[in-house]
Each structure stands twice: as structure tokens, then as C-alpha cells.
């Protein structure tokens, strides 16, 4: 036992008094007790997106979309007769802070679920926290897949939902077979390109070259020179963030047009196009489940509300849309099980939940916790929007492990063996992944 010395005790008392005086009207523990008293009237939902630091560029828009969704839910009377109360934390774009803030949201605020994270690194840093303390995370980003966690629900696209139709479409409809792959040097582009190469093999395309650029590098004259001399007829880009802007700008600067060699990307959104200027993007292709220009009535409402709330120049994109409908999934799941208990939400509430999202009817898969979506292909136009040139007639099942690369791997949270394993306390059974090798 640590002894409390009289001097340190006095010092901490003094510090505490100072804190109260400095804090003015409402010192920390008073606000906390008030918050606790009001707990009965609201249901707390954690929002965990960086509002400062490098990733804030994109994450603040996800934060905005989620707040909008919560406001809409509350305007319709909330959930179980209670209002949803967003508890916002800013992890400052730092991976280790994500885990700390997640812990705080789960243990201190006792939120029913967390809407949050953008990068894979941040998701992987918070997952152990959610698994240990049995929380619920709704993750909105398209990502490299090959992951399943009991405590996480993935509402963004997995690569197969963006690529399975896109690559054959490029080969058959655009008539371009020689692919030049360029990406940022980390896991998402590498995994995506693995699938692209497998699909090219299957559909009779050809990989001319595969290249990676260090994250943050924005000089592409070398790559563009290589592209021009490689004899390829299409560029497949999974560059990310500000790299996208610099690459498209320099691509046109060096005189390659979308007619010569179009750029096809599973990640370039309306946001990046606004930053590079529509003249640099026009004619290039992107595959997503959602574009701002999607013509459904519910999307028109969503875009109008978003602009009314955040300014008329605000643009929406696929990840924001996923963040937006995640909140509705959560609200409906709580209504369904009439409880805020994590296990009830994980085993009964969220799996199978459907919602008429801006992109169309979406559903959380009962088995693998990923989401059924509507693949589309868009061609960027002169106004900085996408003309949707192809839409799939039916929604597509999420496959965290595509059969043509990983034939024996899958995860199934409706499988009895898995549920039994997962219901053991965390200290005995740390594998929460739900994967089974067949």
C-alpha cells in the first residue's frame, strides 16, 4: 500500500481547491453528478472522430454526418422515448489516443455504442478495447477487409463490393485490358491490388506494373513518365488523401487525358475532386456504392439536409453516407431489442437490420457483421460530380474474405460454435473474431 504523506495530501487538496476556483461555476465532479442524474432521460452514443490533426480533413465530415443523423432521430422522437445524446471525443489523429478515448467512452460515459474511426490503424487500436469491455463499434470506412470482430459492425464497402464488378466493367465496357496499378505504400492499397490482380487474371486483363508511393509524397512526375512509357491503357489508382489531388493535377499537367489513359479508382471521392478542381478529374472513373449524384429520393433529402446544416458548398461522399446510416442502424436495433445491453445488440439487434439509406436499401449481414450495398460506377464530370454510368441491379453481399483468394476462410457470428466460444469471459477466450476455417 502506498502511504499518503501529509504534505502531498495537503498539496493535492490545495490543487483541488484551486481547480474549483479556477473552474468557476461548474467544477468537474459537479457536472459529472448532474450528468449522472440526467442519465435516465437520454441514451448516450459515442462519436469518435479526429477533429484535429492530419486525418481531421475527412474525419470531421464523418462526425458532421453522424451528428446530423442523431438530430434527425431525435426530431422524430428519439429511441424508446428517449433522446440520443452524442458524446463527442477528439482523438487528434493519433492512433494511441483513439484507444484511450474509446476506453473513456465505454467505461466512464457508459455509451451504448460508438460511431467512429476512419483509418484501419485507428480501428485496430480500438478493437481490443471494445472486445475486452464488450462495447459496440460501428465503423463506416471502406477498408481492406479480412477482419471480423464480434464487437464491430462494418458499414463501409469491402474491396470485393467495389472491385468484383468494376474490373470486369473496365475490361469489357471500356475495352481496356492493360492495367497500371499505383497506390500508397500501406495495407489498404496492397490488399486492394491483390484482389485487382486476381480479377485481372480471371477476366483476361493484364498487370503492366504495380507501384507504391510513400504516404505523404506528392511528387508524381516520375510515375507519370513511367505510365506514359509503359504501354498501359488504364491506370488503377489507390492513392489516398492529398496524394490523390496532387496526382490528378500533375497527370493532366503532363498532358495525359482521360481519353488516352483513364484513371480508375476505388477511393477518389467528390471531396478530393473539389480540392483538385473538376477540370483535373473530368472523365476519370470511380467505383463506390454511393455518389452525391445518386438519384434516389432519400438521397435528395439527405443532401438537402446536409447542405442546410453545413453550408451550400458542402459535398457528401460514400464514407459520410455510411457514417450517416450507421446511426440509424443503431437506433433501429435499440428499438428492436428494447434494451441498451451490448450482448442484446450484438446478437439480436444489429445483425439483419435493414435501412432505406440514401444509396438504397442496405442491410447488416447476419453472419459477418459487414453490410449489403449497391455497387455503382461513376464518371467525373465538369461540375465536380459523378455521372453514374452503371448501377448494379441487385445489392451485393459483403465478403470479408473473397473466395478466389481465400477459399477456406469466412466468419459466421450466427454459428453456434462461434457464439459459445464468444460467450466465454474475455479472460478465458480472447479470440473474438468469429472466424472459422472450413
Amino acid at each position: 500500500m502506498r502511504k499518503i504523506k501529509r504534505r502531498t495530501f495537503l498539496q493535492s487538496c490545495a490543487a483541488g481547491m484551486g481547480g474549483i476556483l479556477a473552474g468557476g461555476t461548474a467544477p468537474y465532479f459537479f457536472t459529472r453528478s448532474i450528468a449522472r442524474a440526467a442519465e435516465g432521460a437520454t441514451i448516450k452514443v459515442g462519436i469518435l472522430h479526429s477533429l484535429s490533426g492530419t486525418i481531421a480533413i475527412i474525419e470531421s465530415s464523418l462526425h458532421n454526418a453522424e451528428l446530423l443523423a442523431i438530430e434527425e432521430i431525435n426530431a422524430k422522437g428519439g429511441v424508446l422515448g428517449k433522446k440520443l445524446q452524442p458524446v463527442v471525443e477528439d482523438p487528434q489523429s493519433m492512433v494511441q489516443v483513439f484507444a484511450e478515448k474509446a476506453k473513456k467512452l465505454l467505461l466512464e460515459d457508459k455509451v451504448v455504442a460508438v460511431l467512429g474511426c476512419y483509418t484501419s490503424a485507428s480501428r485496430q487500436s480500438v478493437l481490443p478495447v471494445f472486445e475486452q469491455h464488450n462495447g459496440v463499434l460501428l465503423y463506416p470506412t471502406l477498408y481492406e477487409a479480412q477482419e471480423c470482430s464480434k464487437n464491430c459492425f462494418y458499414t463501409g464497402a469491402v474491396p470485393s463490393q467495389q472491385l468484383d464488378d468494376f474490373v470486369p466493367w473496365i475490361i469489357n465496357t471500356l475495352g481496356r485490358k492493360k492495367f497500371y496499378l499505383i497506390g500508397a505504400n500501406y495495407i489498404y492499397p496492397k490488399e486492394t491490388n491483390r484482389e485487382v490482380k486476381a480479377l485481372l487474371h480471371k477476366h483476361g486483363g493484364q498487370t503492366v506494373a504495380e507501384e507504391y508511393s510513400p504516404l505523404g509524397a506528392t511528387e508524381f512526375s516520375t510515375n507519370i513518365n513511367k505510365i506514359a512509357s509503359s504501354g498501359c491503357d488504364v491506370v488503377f489508382s489507390d492513392l489516398v488523401g492529398d496524394q490523390i489531388v496532387a496526382f490528378y493535377k500533375q497527370y493532366r499537367e503532363f498532358g495525359i487525358t482521360a481519353k488516352d489513359i483513364p484513371i480508375c479508382s476505388p477511393i477518389t471521392t467528390e471531396q478530393e475532386i473539389a480540392a483538385m478542381g473538376p477540370e483535373n478529374a473530368a472523365g476519370h472513373y470511380t467505383s463506390f456504392d454511393y455518389f452525391q449524384s445518386v438519384g434516389t429520393p432519400q438521397n435528395k433529402v439527405f443532401v438537402d439536409r446536409y447542405k442546410a446544416r453545413y453550408g451550400k458548398n458542402a459535398v457528401t461522399n460514400a464514407v459520410m453516407q455510411a457514417a450517416y446510416f450507421s446511426a440509424f442502424f443503431l437506433a433501429q436495433a435499440i428499438e428492436k431489442v428494447r434494451s441498451t445491453d451490448a450482448d442484446a445488440l450484438i446478437y439480436e439487434g444489429l445483425p439483419g437490420q435493414e435501412f432505406l439509406a440514401p444509396e438504397g436499401l442496405v442491410k447488416i449481414d447476419e453472419k459477418n457483421h459487414h453490410t449489403w450495398l449497391w455497387p455503382r460506377i461513376g464518371r467525373a464530370n465538369e461540375q465536380g460530380q459523378f455521372d453514374v454510368v452503371w448501377t448494379r441491379k441487385n445489392w451485393v453481399r459483403p465478403q470479408p474474405w473473397v473466395p478466389y483468394l481465400y477459399p477456406n476462410k469466412t466468419c459466421d457470428f450466427s454459428d453456434k460454435r462461434v457464439v459459445e466460444r464468444l460467450k466465454k469471459p474475455w479472460s478465458q477466450e480472447k479470440d473474438r473474431s468469429g472466424t472459422i476455417n472450413m
Partner: protein, 290 residues
């Protein structure tokens, strides 16, 4: 293949130009005033946002250059008078203080312009390019960057070697105490140098914005590249900036072409490490007179 390598070598010149433009401001402030300006990247960023504002008001890059020079120069003046002038002789503190200034600049910019990437167009009359050799044209804008780099170098040479201020600057650089004794106002020289260097960083932001991405976090990679140029070329010598930028720029473009970007960058870093081991003060390092 040979054709491609020649094209590559040519576009390498534009990369060298970008490095020179980005590193000049840092070189002057570091070389004369002895301040390691950690906010250098953010000065470039402010220059880029200035160009964005000028663009919104209807001006192009040619208008943006003087505007950015004045804006960021004034910002430099404010920072020098407000903070740096009190801590010139404490290198560690200047490091921390300018770093803090950088964070503040990023945050303030984000509050004003929002966190998203910002659009800066390139001037219409510099669109397109001219064919030299091979399949790809050499863009006019890249040629413009090369010219800007040469003009800026010439301007700095002129100021340092042909003007009275330059004479004082060189005197202070050689021996601060004696220069002071001879009646040179060393504080004024430091201030002038800091403001001039800041202005140059502003120009860098304004001319790079049209072909790169503009965001509040954009400055950091430029700051890193600038420091590499200085370390390799040698602090306190303008030829060092040109030599450092030339070696890094050409080596990186050619190596990236032969291997790939990741290995290209890696080899350049390796090259710098070995060079510093052999010539600790850089290729054109300045050796104090004893």
C-alpha cells in the same frame, strides 16, 4: 528506355527547382540568423492559402507571388518582433517556439478555411507543354518553376553580395560580435533576414499550390525536404542549397524511375547519411574562421 531516362532527367530539373524554392527561405534564416525555423513548412502553407485567396478574387499565380511574399513576410515580421527576437541566443528555445508557432498557424488556418483540402488552379496561359523528346510533353508550368527557382537564387545572390544590407548580413554571419562593434545593428540584420526568408517561403507556397495539394498539414513534407537539402548542401552557403537540391532532386527522380518511389527515397536518405558521415558540415559547409 534512353528516351524515358532523358525525359526523366528533364522532369528532375523541375523537382530540383521545387526543392530550391522550398528550401531557400529556410536556408537564409538558418544560415544567418541561426534560427532553425520549425514553422517553415507552415509559412509555405500560409503562402499556398494566400494564393488560394488571390485565386478566388480572380488573380493568377503571377499576382499571388508578390502578395504571398508580402503577406508571409509581414507574418514573419510579427513573429520575429513578437517572439524570436527575445530568444535568438537560445537555439533550443527558438526550436520549440517556432514549432509552437507552426502549430498555431495550422490551427488558425483550419479555423478560417476549414479542415478540408483547398483548391488552387494553375494559370491558364501556362497550361499544356512542349515536346522535347519521348512521349510526354514537358509542361510549361514546370519550366516556369525552373525559371522561378533561378530568378529567386539570383535575387538572393544579388541581395547578399551586391547590396549594403547583404554586406552587413555577411559581416554578421562571419563574426557577430565584431560586426556589432563596428557599428552594424545586428538585431536589425537578424530581423531583415527573418522577414526576407519568410517572404521567400510564402513565394514557395504560392507557386507550388497549383500542382500540389493544399491543406493545413501540407507544410511538413516540404519542411523535411528543405532540411535534407540544407543538411546535404551545407548550412550558410547558397551554393549548398543549389547543390543539395540538385543532388537530391535528380537522384530521387532517376532512382525512382529505375527502381520505385519507395526504394528511390530510401537510397536518397542512405546517400545523405553517408555524406554527412564523411563531410559533417555538408558539401559546401561553411567553416568558421578561427
Amino acid at each position: 528506355m534512353t528516351q524515358s531516362i532523358i525525359t526523366q532527367f528533364l522532369s528532375g530539373f523541375s523537382v530540383v527547382a521545387i526543392l530550391i524554392i522550398a528550401a531557400l527561405g529556410l536556408a537564409i534564416i538558418f544560415g544567418v540568423a541561426g534560427v532553425i525555423n520549425m514553422a517553415h513548412g507552415e509559412f509555405i502553407m500560409v503562402g499556398a492559402y494566400t494564393a488560394a485567396v488571390v485565386g478566388k478574387l480572380g488573380g493568377n499565380t503571377l499576382v499571388a507571388i508578390p502578395v504571398a511574399f508580402v503577406t508571409v513576410g509581414l507574418l514573419g515580421l510579427l513573429i520575429e518582433r513578437g517572439i524570436v527576437q527575445w530568444i535568438y541566443d537560445r537555439p533550443l528555445e527558438t526550436l520549440l517556439a517556432t514549432w509552437g508557432v507552426g502549430i498555431i498557424l495550422q490551427t488558425v488556418t483550419k479555423l478560417i478555411f476549414g479542415p478540408e483540402l483547398y483548391y488552387v488552379g494553375s494559370p491558364k496561359f501556362l497550361a499544356g507543354g512542349f515536346r522535347v523528346i519521348g512521349r510526354l510533353p514537358f509542361p510549361w508550368y514546370r519550366l516556369f518553376l525552373v525559371i522561378v527557382a533561378i530568378l529567386l537564387l539570383a535575387l538572393v545572390f544579388h541581395v547578399i553580395f551586391k547590396t549594403n544590407l547583404g554586406l552587413e548580413v555577411r559581416a554578421v554571419r562571419r563574426n557577430r560580435a565584431i560586426a556589432g562593434c563596428l557599428g552594424i545593428d545586428t538585431a536589425r540584420v537578424d530581423m531583415a533576414v527573418f522577414v526576407f526568408g519568410s517572404g521567400l517561403a510564402g513565394i514557395a507556397g504560392a507557386v507550388l499550390a497549383p500542382i500540389k495539394s493544399v491543406s493545413t498539414a501540407m507544410g511538413f513534407p516540404y519542411a523535411v525536404d528543405s532540411f535534407m537539402v540544407l543538411v546535404l548542401g551545407g548550412v550558410g552557403n547558397l551554393w549548398g542549397v543549389a547543390a543539395g537540391a540538385g543532388l537530391i532532386g535528380e537522384a530521387e527522380t532517376v532512382l525512382s524511375f529505375i527502381f520505385n518511389n519507395v526504394i528511390g527515397r530510401l537510397l536518397v536518405f542512405l546517400f545523405i547519411v553517408v555524406t554527412i558521415r564523411l563531410v559533417p558540415k555538408g558539401i559546401f559547409g561553411y567553416y568558421e574562421r578561427r
